[in-house]
């Protein structure tokens, strides 16, 4: 089982890194990080804050875009090219296929984040006269939370890709990303509403992915520490939520008729 999943993971990773869109997006993210160094010169006293906000936002947004645009094609492309039949005719179970795909894309995103992270820290070192400052370690936590975000987005994209067309998957994934950014507002609205509507809002608030709690970019830009409890809870939440989404994708994919 592990060999089969590893084979699909590795092949997914190899296919993803061949996609030219990936390199363009990484290039633009690095360009934006570089631009942040210049833009910081036309403001007062926020060069470092601006670079951190801009750099981490670029990594986050471009990573989400990569997760969506590669994720939505993971299953549908195999169906279109009819390679899925060849894969499933081997002793590869459908759930192994889905999990391999998820792992492959997550690996791709981690590698992308690594390269974008190098560019980001290089820019930061340039700004700080080649010296790390107190609070730079917190940036690694922010990047870790961004990777957790990517894992959730990948799982979302795979879920939608398992039953719908690429365009609809992209729209739904993007819409849930936006709604997930307002998850805390939804919870607030649910708390103020009573009766059936209150229950509905509360259910929706728990169902949508809570990206707001994973976004600590503004806090780390001011050097505010992230507690161990937040770190642990965010990690558990992201992994459990992603497992739920992938389980849903597996359930749909197992029952899908490809004839």
């Amino acid at each position: 089982m592990i060999n089969r999943i590893s084979a699909i993971t590795y092949n997914t990773f190899r296919e993803a890194v061949r996609d030219r869109v990936l390199y363009n997006l990484i290039f633009f993210a690095i360009l934006i990080i570089g631009a942040a160094l210049l833009l910081g010169q036309i403001t007062i006293d926020i060069e470092r804050i601006f670079l951190i906000n801009m750099g981490l936002t670029a990594i986050s947004i471009f990573g989400v875009v990569i997760a969506i645009f590669i994720g939505i094609g993971l299953v549908s492309k195999e169906i279109e090219k009819k390679t899925l039949y060849a894969i499933l005719s081997r002793p590869v179970r459908r759930w192994e296929f889905i999990i391999g795909k998820v792992f492959g894309l997550v690996m791709t995103l981690v590698v992308n984040t690594f390269f974008m992270g190098i560019a980001f820290f290089a820019a930061l070192l340039l700004l700080s006269y080649y010296r790390f400052q107190h609070g730079d370690g917190l940036l690694l936590i922010a990047i870790y939370f961004i990777i957790l975000q990517f894992i959730m987005m990948t799982s979302l994209a795979i879920l939608f890709s398992s039953f719908s067309s690429p365009i609809l998957s992209a729209v739904l994934s993007f819409a849930l990303y936006i709604v997930g950014s307002f998850a805390q507002d939804l919870r607030g609205m649910a708390a103020m509403t009573h009766g059936g509507l209150g229950w509905l809002l509360k259910s929706v608030a728990y169902l949508v992915p809570n990206f707001a709690s994973l976004n600590v970019i503004t806090s780390v830009s001011h050097g505010q520490a992230i507690s161990g409890a937040v770190f642990a809870h965010n990690t558990l939440y992201a992994l459990l939520y992603s497992i739920a989404l992938v389980a849903g994708a597996v359930l749909i994919f197992e029952r899908r008729n490809f004839k």
């Binding site: 006293d45 601006f50 986050s60 503004t218 001011h222």
Partner: protein
């Protein structure tokens, strides 16, 4: 040349020529419509709406709005504008998006408080901004210094300045200088020494180089404003004793009224004019001074070393010997 290469060359030329022509057109349009940029418009004025639109990236949006506020203030300031209608809303949006962006409260309150053309001339709005900053950042003792500053220099409210400084001095980690300044303000109210203490407290409590430079310039200006009347008084004493106007400071030194030729804070000798007034040698290098200027000469509150057309360089051929 084969046909494919020919087409490539032709279209490269067309591309470059079209781009160059369009760039020239942009220049021409810029000359015809220089103010087409709608700089006085804020399309979204609600900080809450902007927070929603930021989809979690409110820190970055706050930085962008802060940059916009800085550029807006700078552009208005160099033209000597007296209206800064968007400054308050831009600062409100910035601090609502990121309540911990301390620099927006510090510099923003200065931009708002100072009288035109140096600032917007809105000290009450500046006070409200700093008080919001204090609520959001209770450990930022430096904000109390900014608050005291506004009360002292812009509102002439010395009691409130003293209270602000006292409150700030109670914050753990605040600079010990704040207690001294608070005590002095309570004791003496409006006093040149207090003005010096306040600027010195800014110098001591900030790490920002621009702010330190500004504080140093003000301290030098205060020194000149104190020294010039004293020197003019001494020249008056000489006139009373001898019945004639001193022509230079050497005469005052020889008369035992001065220990040596007096120098201004940047090391240039003061100039004793024939009518008994004392002037500084280079008022461009000493912004913010109110005394020691040639008659009819006014400097802007922010003097960028000779950028104002009205300020002329002193004519060294007319200067008396020090």
């Amino acid at each position: 040349m084969n046909p494919r290469r020919k087409i490539t060359v032709i279209f490269v030329i067309v591309l470059l020529a079209s781009f160059a022509t369009s760039a020239w057109q942009t220049e021409a349009l810029q000359k015809l419509r220089p103010t087409a940029s709608l700089e006085e418009t804020l399309y979204i004025t609600s900080p809450q709406a902007l927070r929603r639109f930021s989809i979690g990236y409110s820190g970055l949006l706050a930085d962008i709005y802060w940059t916009r506020a800085v550029q807006y203030f700078g552009a208005k300031h160099v033209t000597g504008a007296r209206q800064f209608s968007l400054l308050g809303p831009l600062l409100n949006i910035t601090t609502a998006l990121d309540p911990h962006l301390i620099v927006a409260y510090e510099f923003g309150s200065t931009f708002l408080a100072q009288k035109p053309p140096g600032g917007a001339g809105q000290p009450d709005q500046a006070i409200a901004l700093v008080e919001q900053g204090i609520r959001e950042n209770p450990t930022a003792s430096h904000l109390y210094v900014d608050l005291a500053f506004i009360y002292y220099f812009e509102k002439n409210d010395y009691d409130s300045a003293a209270k602000a400084m006292e409150e700030g001095s109670k914050i753990p980690g605040s600079h010990p200088f704040m207690k001294i300044v608070a005590a002095s303000l309570f004791q003496r109210g409006n006093d040149q020494q207090n003005a010096r203490l306040l600027w010195r407290s800014i110098l001591q409590t900030t790490n920002d180089k621009m702010t330190q430079e500004n504080a140093l310039k003000h301290l030098r200006a205060l020194q000149v404003d104190a020294e010039v009347p004293e020197l003019e008084k001494i020249a008056g004493i000489f006139r009373q004793r001898t019945g004639k106007q001193p022509t230079n400071f050497k005469e005052l030194v020889q008369a035992g009224l001065l220990p040596g030729i007096p120098l201004d804070p940047i090391g240039n000798p003061y100039r004793l004019m024939p009518d008994g007034r004392v002037e500084v040698e280079d008022y461009f290098a000493l912004p913010f001074i109110k005394k020691g200027l040639p008659p009819g000469q006014e400097l802007s509150i922010f003097d960028f070393s000779g950028s104002k057309e009205t300020a002329k360089k002193p004519d060294s051929s007319k200067a008396p010997n020090p």
